[in-house]
C-alpha cells in the first residue's frame, strides 16, 4: 500500500512537472469545447435562395415568405426562367432554387395534390441534406395549413395533421449533441494516450527497468500510474459538463452519481487500453500512433460523435460495435439530454463493463509477461 502510494505521488508530481502534458490535459478539453460549441455548429443558416414563381398568387407568395421567415433562407434573387437557375447555382449565388408551378394557388385552395420543385446545390452533401431537410419541413407545414383550410371549407372528413416535435433538443442545437461526444473524446485522449505514453516514456528512460528491480509488483505499479490519470480524466469530464451547462445552457437532466459512475466505468476500460498499448509499444512514437489509430480515431469517427452510425455502410456499422465510445455516447446522451435512468441503457453499460473486463485481463496478462520477461 505504501509502495502504491509512492507511485501515485510520484506520478502526480510528474504530471504537474510536465508542462506539455498538463497543457494537453487541461486546455485541450476547453479548446475543443469552444471550437465545437461555437464554430463547429452543424446548423446551417442564411442559405441563399432564388425563387421562380410561375404562379404569382397569394398562395405562392405565402410559400416564399414561409421560407424567408424561417430564418434558414435568404431570398437573393427572383428569376424568370430555367437558364437563370443554372447560372445562379453555377456561380454559387444561390444554394437552392424554389420553383412554384403555375396553378399552384388554385390547387392549394381546392386541396388538389400539387408540388413545388426545389433545386439544391449538392457539392457538399452534408449541407445539401440539411437544406433539403429544412425545405421539406417548411413545405410540409404550409401544405398542412392548406389541407386544414380546404377541409374546413368543405365540411366532413377527418382532420389528420402531423405535428413534429423534436425532443431533448427542441432547437436541434448540435452543441447539445456534441458535448457527450466531447467527454468521450477527451476521456480517450487523457486515459489512453497519456497512460500509454507515460509508461512507454519510463521504458525509454530506463526508469521502468529500475522500478522492476525493486520489490514493487506490476499491479501496484500500474494501478499507481493510472490512478492520477483516472482522477484527471474524471475531473475533466465533470468540468466539460459544467462548462457546457454554463456556456451553452446544456441541460443536465439526469443524475450526477450515475454520470460519474458511467464515466468511471468507461475510464477503467480506457486506462486498461492505454496500459495494453504500452506493453506492445517500445517507443513513444509507436505508442502514440497505436493509441491514435485504435482509440482516438474510432472514437471520433465511429462512435456516432459526429457521423450518425445509422447512416454508415452496413460493414462499418458492424465495426462500431467494437468501439466502446459508441455505448458510452448512448449512455451519456441518455443521462445528460434525456435524464433517463440506468434501466434505459443497461445494455450499453453492460457492453462497457465487458469491454473493461476483457481489456483489463488482456493488459494484465501482457503486463505480467513483460514484467518478468523471463520465461
Amino acid at each position: 500500500m505504501r509502495k502504491l502510494a509512492a507511485v501515485v505521488v510520484k506520478e502526480f508530481r510528474q504530471i504537474g512537472r510536465d508542462r506539455r502534458s498538463l497543457l494537453i490535459l487541461l486546455f485541450v478539453p476547453a479548446f475543443f469545447l469552444l471550437i465545437y460549441g461555437y464554430a463547429l455548429s452543424f446548423d446551417i443558416r442564411n442559405i441563399p435562395l432564388a425563387v421562380e414563381d410561375r404562379d404569382r398568387s397569394s398562395a405562392s407568395r405565402e410559400v416564399v415568405s414561409a421560407f424567408v421567415n424561417s430564418g434558414y433562407f435568404d431570398l437573393v434573387a427572383t428569376i424568370a426562367g430555367e437558364r437563370d437557375i443554372d447560372r445562379l447555382l453555377d456561380e454559387g449565388a444561390a444554394r437552392a432554387v424554389l420553383v412554384i408551378p403555375a396553378g399552384f394557388g388554385r390547387d392549394a385552395r381546392t386541396a388538389t395534390p400539387t408540388s413545388v420543385q426545389l433545386v439544391v446545390n449538392g457539392d457538399n452533401a452534408n449541407t445539401a441534406t440539411t437544406v433539403v431537410g429544412y425545405a421539406v419541413a417548411l413545405i410540409a407545414a404550409v401544405s398542412a395549413r392548406y389541407e386544414v383550410e380546404a377541409r374546413l371549407a368543405s365540411p366532413g372528413g377527418p382532420l389528420l395533421r402531423a405535428e413534429t416535435r423534436v425532443w431533448y433538443n427542441p432547437e436541434l442545437r448540435s452543441t447539445l449533441f456534441l458535448v457527450p461526444g466531447l467527454i468521450a473524446y477527451i476521456a480517450m485522449l487523457t486515459a489512453v494516450v497519456s497512460t500509454a505514453l507515460s509508461i512507454v516514456r519510463e521504458k525509454e528512460a530506463g526508469t521502468l527497468e529500475q522500478v522492476r528491480m525493486s520489490p514493487v509488483g506490476p499491479l501496484a505499479y500500474v494501478v499507481g500510474k493510472t490512478v492520477p490519470y483516472f482522477v484527471v480524466s474524471l475531473a475533466s469530464a465533470v468540468a466539460i459538463v459544467g462548462a457546457a451547462m454554463l456556456l451553452f445552457a446544456l441541460p443536465m437532466r439526469g443524475s450526477w452519481p450515475l454520470l460519474v459512475g458511467s464515466v468511471s466505468l468507461f475510464l477503467v476500460g480506457a486506462l486498461a487500453f492505454g496500459v495494453l498499448i504500452s506493453t506492445v509499444a517500445e517507443t513513444q512514437q509507436v505508442a502514440f500512433q497505436l493509441a491514435v489509430l485504435t482509440s482516438y480515431l474510432p472514437t471520433f469517427m465511429l462512435s456516432g460523435f459526429i457521423f450518425p452510425i445509422s447512416s454508415m455502410p452496413a460493414a462499418l456499422q458492424l465495426v462500431t460495435y467494437a468501439v466502446p465510445a459508441r455505448y458510452f455516447l448512448t449512455v451519456l446522451r441518455g443521462i445528460v439530454l434525456k435524464g433517463v435512468g440506468a434501466a434505459a441503457f443497461w445494455r450499453d453499460l453492460a457492453a462497457l463493463a465487458i469491454f473493461a473486463v476483457v481489456i483489463l485481463s488482456l493488459a494484465s496478462l501482457r503486463l505480467r509477461r513483460e514484467w518478468s520477461a523471463s520465461r
Binding site: R2, K3, A5, A6, V7, V9, K10, R13, Q14, R17, D18, A205, G206, T207, E209, Q210, V211, R212, M213, S214, P215, V216, G217, S372, A373, S374, R375
Partner: protein
C-alpha cells in the same frame, strides 16, 4: 561465506547462447568485477542475478535465495544501478529519494535517516529542490547509487555505473564503492574501463558468454609469467609491427597508444636483440620490458578463448 553462488548458469535466447555455463562465487564484502566487451553477456548475467531474467539452466543463489524460484525475495535484498542512472529527471532530488524510498517500503524515521545519508553521500545537501535532470552527470550518478541503496541492501549490482562520467567523479564514485564494501556490502560491478577493474578484489573476464578468466588482478597477470612484454617505441610503428611479427621470438604484437607491445615466447630473449633486429631493418626503435597491464591480460585472455 559466499553471498552469491553461481553454478553452471546459462541463458539462451533462441539458438543464441548469451551466457554459457558460468560458475563462480562472490564473498561477503567483496568487490567483484565483471569484465567483458559489449555483448559478452555481462548485463544478461546481472539481470538473471537480480531476478529479472529466468536462467535457461543452472542455478544462482543471491543472499542464499535461488533466483529462479523466488525472484521477488531476491529483489528485496539487492540494490541495482545501471549506467543510465535511472532517476526521474523531471523530479527533484528529494522527490526521487521519496519515490525510491517509498517503493522499497521505507517510511518515517528510517526514510528520513536514509534520505540524509543519500544526500550526504551524493554531495547534494542543500540542493534537495534541484531538478535531477539539471544535475551534472557525476552528481546524478552518486544520487542514483544513493537511491539504489536506500533500503540498505546487503548486495549491490552496478551495471557499467561510470559510463559518461568525468574521471574525477569516477574516482569519487569508486571511493564510495570501497566504503560500501568495507561496511560489509557485497558489490558486483560490470565495467569495460580496465583501470577501474584494478579497484576490484577479484575480476572475472567474460568472453562470448563464457568465463575466460577469474582471479585477483595480480593472479590474472600471472598469465604472462615467462612471457615478458616488450614495449617498443618506433617512428614507424606499423612497419615495426610487421617486422616483429616475422621474428620467431615474438609470440604476438598489439598496438598500445603510440607504442607497440610484443609478447615474447621466452624470458631468455634479451630486449636488445629485438632492438638490433629492428635497427638492421632501418627502424630505430627503443625497447624495454614492461609489467603487464590489465589491458594486456584482457586482450590475451580474449584472444586465447576466442
Amino acid at each position: 561465506m559466499n553471498t552469491i553462488e553461481v553454478r553452471h548458469l546459462t541463458r539462451r535466447f533462441g539458438a543464441f547462447v548469451a551466457v554459457d555455463d558460468l560458475t563462480f562465487d562472490v564473498g561477503q564484502g567483496e568487490i567483484f568485477g565483471f569484465l567483458g566487451a559489449n555483448g559478452a553477456g555481462k548485463s544478461t548475467t546481472i539481470r538473471m542475478l537480480c531476478g529479472l531474467l529466468r536462467p535457461s539452466s543452472g542455478t544462482a543463489r543471491v543472499g542464499g535465495i535461488d533466483v529462479g524460484s523466488d525472484p521477488e525475495a531476491v529483489k528485496r535484498r539487492i540494490g541495482y544501478m545501471s549506467q543510465r542512472f535511472s532517476l526521474y529527471e523531471k523530479l527533484t532530488v528529494d522527490q526521487n529519494i521519496a519515490f525510491f524510498g517509498g517503493i522499497y517500503g521505507l517510511s518515517g524515521d528510517r526514510l528520513a535517516a536514509r534520505r540524509a545519508f543519500a544526500l550526504e553521500m551524493a554531495g547534494l545537501r542543500g540542493r534537495e529542490g534541484a531538478l535531477t535532470g539539471e544535475l551534472a552527470a557525476g552528481w546524478r550518478q552518486r544520487l542514483s547509487l544513493g537511491c539504489a541503496i536506500l533500503h540498505e541492501p546487503p548486495i549491490v549490482f552496478l551495471d557499467e555505473p561510470t559510463g559518461g562520467v568525468d574521471p574525477l567523479s569516477r574516482r569519487r564514485f569508486w571511493r564510495l564503492i570501497d566504503e560500501l564494501a568495507r561496511g560489509g556490502t557485497t558489490v558486483l560491478v560490470t565495467t569495460h574501463y580496465l583501470d577501474e577493474a584494478e579497484h576490484c578484489h577479484r575480476v572475472a573476464i567474460i568472453q562470448a558468454g563464457r568465463l575466460a578468466a577469474l582471479g585477483t588482478v595480480p593472479e590474472l597477470k600471472q598469465v604472462f609469467a615467462g612471457r615478458p612484454i616488450l614495449e617498443i617505441r618506433a617512428p614507424r610503428p606499423v612497419d615495426a609491427m610487421r617486422l616483429l611479427d616475422t621474428l620467431p621470438e615474438v609470440e604476438k604484437t598489439s598496438v598500445f597508444g603510440t607504442a607497440v607491445h610484443a609478447v615474447l615466447r621466452s624470458a631468455e630473449t634479451p630486449p636488445g636483440e629485438v632492438a638490433a633486429r629492428l635497427g638492421s631493418a632501418g627502424i630505430a626503435a627503443e625497447c624495454r620490458v614492461v609489467a603487464p597491464s590489465l589491458e594486456d591480460v584482457f586482450l590475451d585472455v580474449v584472444e586465447r578463448s576466442a
